[in-house]
Symmetry: C2
Subunit: 295 residues, 2 copies
Amino acid sequence: MTQCAILAFVINRVPFVDKIRQGWEVRQSLLCVGLDPDLKRLPERYSERVNRKDEGLLTFCHDIVDATADRVCAFKPQVAYFAARGLESQLADLIAYVHQHHADVPVILDAKRGDIGDTAKLYAIEAFERYDADAVTVNPYLGAESISPYLDYPDRGVIVLCRTSNPGSAWLQQYPEQGEPVYLRVARAAAEWNGNGNVMLVAGATYPEQLGAIRRLVGDMPLLVPGVGTQGGDLEAVLRAGVDSRGQGLIINASRSVLYADPDSPAQGAASAAEALRVEINRLLAEICPQRASV
Amino acid sequence: MTQCAILAFVINRVPFVDKIRQGWEVRQSLLCVGLDPDLKRLPERYSERVNRKDEGLLTFCHDIVDATADRVCAFKPQVAYFAARGLESQLADLIAYVHQHHADVPVILDAKRGDIGDTAKLYAIEAFERYDADAVTVNPYLGAESISPYLDYPDRGVIVLCRTSNPGSAWLQQYPEQGEPVYLRVARAAAEWNGNGNVMLVAGATYPEQLGAIRRLVGDMPLLVPGVGTQGGDLEAVLRAGVDSRGQGLIINASRSVLYADPDSPAQGAASAAEALRVEINRLLAEICPQRASV
């Protein structure tokens, strides 16, 4: 980077948390659209172009982004969909596209990395410098050393796996049955790591009771909530258990139910599905926290 | 892949566990060399060439591999060193180089991935198809769903983080103090997941007592042991606590202490450092398990 570029990098960056709050308030949306471009489900008009440097896949993502950007608080590309096929440069292009065309919408890189020492620093560089993501998901199994290199970027978000949405996770995350379970131990640590105000947690929609326990422990810390839509999480239960003191605080992710809503008209289908979810969330919020209307 | 290629892929693959045992027995080595090519520490003769498509970095790795292949049971490239700088194709080239020139030496991809469902399948594809690694490290925080896609490749190794070498990991891995700690819960689950005999565990050299507890729980399951060398793990304590019933069972990783042993003569330095470690391990093994000499 040139000195000018570094200066711009340091000065102009709107912190992730501020971008998220802006999405909640200006676009009135707690919805995050997960960008998981599954080649097997790619609508025909895009899959025809997949063999030519995969531009079909990237165009699909651009169209989904353009169709839904006004209706979301964040986008969340999933690294594995790109990495399995060697499409890292397309992932970088996609994130750059969001920054360029929808600068207000932050990008959460769903990487779930977890390592220590120099290796953790390199994964932070991968997420925040190479891909220029606004936030990244990380795994807490290796402890504080695996989180701290990300915290050194105070304008970026660090979203720690806490209580994930899959049934097999209780085995470890809700262990032990007596005493504080692992997921709450992680939530408590995350609150301690939060000196820069940029730490958040993943709390699956499929476990609203545990989501509520996390909320009670971490105050108004934003929570990323996967598991609504295809995975069957109950939206109303999530909102009742999870909203913060201002009737916000949640980044509710939907991927497949938005991306593949209408294979014949993918962009329009995604826009409609995202808008329906956004409106439904706001309708429920108006019931649950009537004072929120004044925000 | 063509049908012939698929057939060759299915028929000719020597399972990871067999390759490891071959290294232990034929090359008489429990040593694994970690390939963590740190640009800041790259010897001058290679760093001069780094700006030309990074061939300097790749040549450095090739030279280390050639110098140490006869002295190791495995190589372990660390993904982050490549990913932070967009060098995925160099990582793929490096693994292909090991397969081509040292076909008996298996490659462990140190990726520590952890995700669920379709995403976990894609990470398995990344490790085993895109990179063609013989084994991969994975994170257990999300439970069985995050491990099972890897198990579908019975000829590959799945190495689950259990008790890692860093001090901050006790906070979660040795929790709770009363009852079975998390790391032993993971070890117990790994033994259950091991229907194909291809599951292994990471047990840090810095915690030989816990390494011993893992060994008692999982029988002769191979253990990958980081933390010898720069991190200060006690080799004798590791061997006493960790060897299996045949005086083997360990994949003892050293990275920096081998890679950067002699900046003026990197390949020769690496060969000497690796050989010294191999010999020291075998000297200690002869003391600890005298019956092993007959293997």
